[in-house]
């Protein structure tokens, strides 16, 4: 095909040149998309503003010092004067986060190692979606399971030697643990799978067994990612609400007995919301003060997880 000068001329005429309309379109689209991205920043600002303002109002209305709020052991909003010491709630959150981690972290890590090192392709293709399904089950269902299945089983096994209350810490730890297993395993597996093949092959070449390769080569190489996954999972357990509300109940005390009921920060927030506290009352404002504490704890955990991932990442070429 040959192009005559005439053809070139007509096609040059067809091109209208850089158009004003297109420029305007480009600028407005850019502005719109930037606005969309800024919505996420505004969300963060909104959270900080709402929590900050209401928490300050709480402290100024009740006259409680932040330290007394965090370290007080009596929480009784209906008393006169109302008492707001949330140490029992923090204790509840810590106990349940620790208990569920004891269950979820080893199981999650072992299944990550299985999926990344041992599983044949076909088994993996079945197990991974199953774990994802587990992660997609709403938390209210886990709470229901604790109440309807796990507590009765615990009662059948442990009673009459131990008294198992119908709301208890152990069942909450078990369900929250199960709930965060998929998170630990999928995040850890991503990291372990990313460890380069050559490292494994070198170890096999030196005569290592699969067990030794998994635990002494792959796991140390992916350790930072695994730690980051652990911390994210703990943060998730700290923020978990409905499963804990239905499983652990509403007692506020510094107990060590896992068969008793104990309220967490999240459960307190739900408890007050379902109650009759009017907007602006100290009890309703205490929600935000507790929420701020919760937000700060999870924020620190998330930042720590990010930091570990960035700081200690092994990079391979």
């Amino acid at each position: 095909m040959t192009t005559s000068p005439q053809d070139l001329e007509t096609s040059a005429k067809l091109w209208a040149g850089p158009s004003r309309f297109r420029y305007l379109q480009e600028v407005s689209v850019h502005a719109f998309l930037l606005a969309c991205a800024l919505v996420t920043v505004l969300t963060t600002l909104g959270i900080v503003l709402v929590l900050g303002v209401e928490t300050i109002r709480f402290f100024s209305i009740t006259g409680i010092s932040p330290w007394a709020f965090l370290s007080g052991t009596e929480l009784d909003p209906d008393n006169s004067p109302p008492e707001f010491g949330i140490l029992p709630l923090i204790w509840g959150t810590v106990v349940i986060a620790a208990g569920s981690s004891v269950i979820a972290l080893p199981i999650g890590l072992l299944s990550a190692i299985y999926l990344s090192e041992y599983a044949p392709q076909r088994v993996r293709a079945f197990l991974k979606p199953a774990l994802e399904l587990l992660a997609g089950v709403p938390t209210i269902v886990y709470g229901y399971l604790a109440l309807m299945l796990i507590t009765p089983v615990l009662q059948a096994v442990l009673e009459p030697t131990f008294k198992v209350q119908s709301y208890n810490i152990l069942s909450a730890c078990i369900v929250v643990g199960i709930m965060i297993i998929p998170m630990v395993s999928s995040l850890s597996e991503d990291v372990l799978s990313a460890v380069p093949r050559s490292l494994r092959e070198a170890a096999y070449g030196l005569g290592a067994t699969k067990f030794e390769v998994s635990t002494r080569i792959v796991l140390p190489a992916g350790l930072s990612g695994v730690m980051a996954a652990f911390i994210l999972a703990v943060s998730r357990a700290v923020g978990e609400t409905m499963a804990v509300v239905l499983a652990a109940g509403t007692s506020r005390k510094l107990t060590f007995n896992p068969l008793e009921s104990l309220q967490t920060m999240t459960a307190y927030i739900v408890g007050v919301t379902s109650g009759e506290a009017s907007a602006g009352s100290p009890e309703s404002l205490s929600l935000f003060a507790v929420g701020t504490t919760l937000f700060l704890i999870t924020l620190v955990l998330n930042i720590l997880s990010n930091f570990i991932l960035k700081r200690f990442r092994e990079s391979y070429q």
């Binding site: 199953a130 229901y144 399971l145 609400t241 919301t273 998330n302």
Partner: protein
């Protein structure tokens, strides 16, 4: 001294520890699947058991009664009498919320992702937004509930502009909740579009927006849809934030529009589950099955879209 004297292969014990470890890993992986089965099984058993008024067990319902039971659960409002209780208001409320979240979260989330992937130049602002999104994804859902309560429901105490305990407030709160997940999923999808496609379009003189609109987005649509549907299906199962922004328990009317009062399926499940009466717990189990069926439908849609439009890898 000869180093081979120090070499003890201990093959037997190493092999055994390897087998033990492999078996432990396998069993650990199965716990997840095991619990999924237990969970489904026990919910189904609970949903089909029946109790007399004083709480003693009756024979569970038979297969022939099943369609009747399902239609009761889906067409009756909540009730203080177990045999008449259903989830009509909750199901309709949850579908309303679903539509609102789809309309609000997807455009904004996709827009933000397109901005970060295609428009923003690397630098401070992009890093800041990225860090912010990854932190938002880790904020507990109940904190979003507090945000919604103060911002949307009460508007900081300015009653006239507050939305009250309406579908708008619930939908906006859930949209903010899933927004980070939508952004992250969409970015993944955009990243899988090969750069050569963009370069070819740019080389022909297309503007940035034309490249995105005509080339990048069309080839990323399956991934974007799959990711966003999965993210939005999370919102449907959320309970805690909806309790905060006032999805009430007992509603006997269907919402007329987004500014109506409402309730949602998981909230109704919670209200039944916390009642001590066994009959209501079996109603709650029925509600859980309906909720799981809704989630499963959405997940299947996502999987079908993914498989149908999967672009053969080049």
């Amino acid at each position: 001294m000869n180093s081979s004297e120090n070499f003890a292969p201990r093959l037997q014990s190493r092999r055994i520890s390897g087998i033990v470890f492999g078996a432990a890993c396998f069993l650990a992986t199965l716990t997840g699947v095991f619990f999924l089965l237990i969970l489904l099984g026990s919910v189904i058993v609970a949903a089909t058991s029946r109790y007399t008024a004083d709480g003693s067990p009756k024979p569970s319902i038979s297969i022939s009664q099943l369609p009747g039971e399902v239609s009761r659960l889906t067409t009756k409002f909540s009730s203080s009498q177990a045999p008449r209780a259903g989830f009509k208001a909750g199901i309709v409320g949850s579908l309303w919320l679903l539509v609102l979240v789809l309309l609000l979260a997807i455009p904004v989330g996709v827009g933000a992702a397109v901005y970060l992937e295609e428009f923003a130049s690397p630098g401070r602002i992009r890093d800041l937004i990225q860090l912010n999104i990854s932190n938002l994804a880790g904020v507990p859902s109940i904190v979003y509930g507090l945000l919604g309560l103060s911002l949307f429901v009460r508007a900081f105490g300015f009653k006239s502009i507050g939305l009250g305990e309406t579908l708008w407030a619930g939908g906006l709160t859930l949209s903010l909740l899933v927004l980070p997940v939508v952004v992250i999923a969409t970015r993944e999808a955009l990243r899988s579009v090969p750069p050569s496609l963009r370069q070819a379009a740019l080389a022909l003189g297309a503007t940035k927006w034309q490249v995105v609109r005509d080339h990048v987005l069309p080839s990323a649509v399956p991934g974007v849809l799959t990711g966003t549907i999965l993210a939005v299906s999370r919102a449907i199962g959320e309970t805690a934030p909806l309790l905060m922004v006032g999805a009430a328990g007992a509603i006997f009317r269907l919402p007329k529009g987004p500014s109506s009062l409402y309730t949602a399926l998981p909230v109704e499940i919670y209200n039944y589950a916390k009642l001590p009466n066994q009959s209501f717990r079996s109603i709650a189990a029925g509600g859980i099955l309906i909720l799981l069926a809704m989630l499963l439908t959405m997940n299947s849609v996502a999987i079908v879209i993914r498989n149908r439009y999967r672009v053969p890898s080049r």
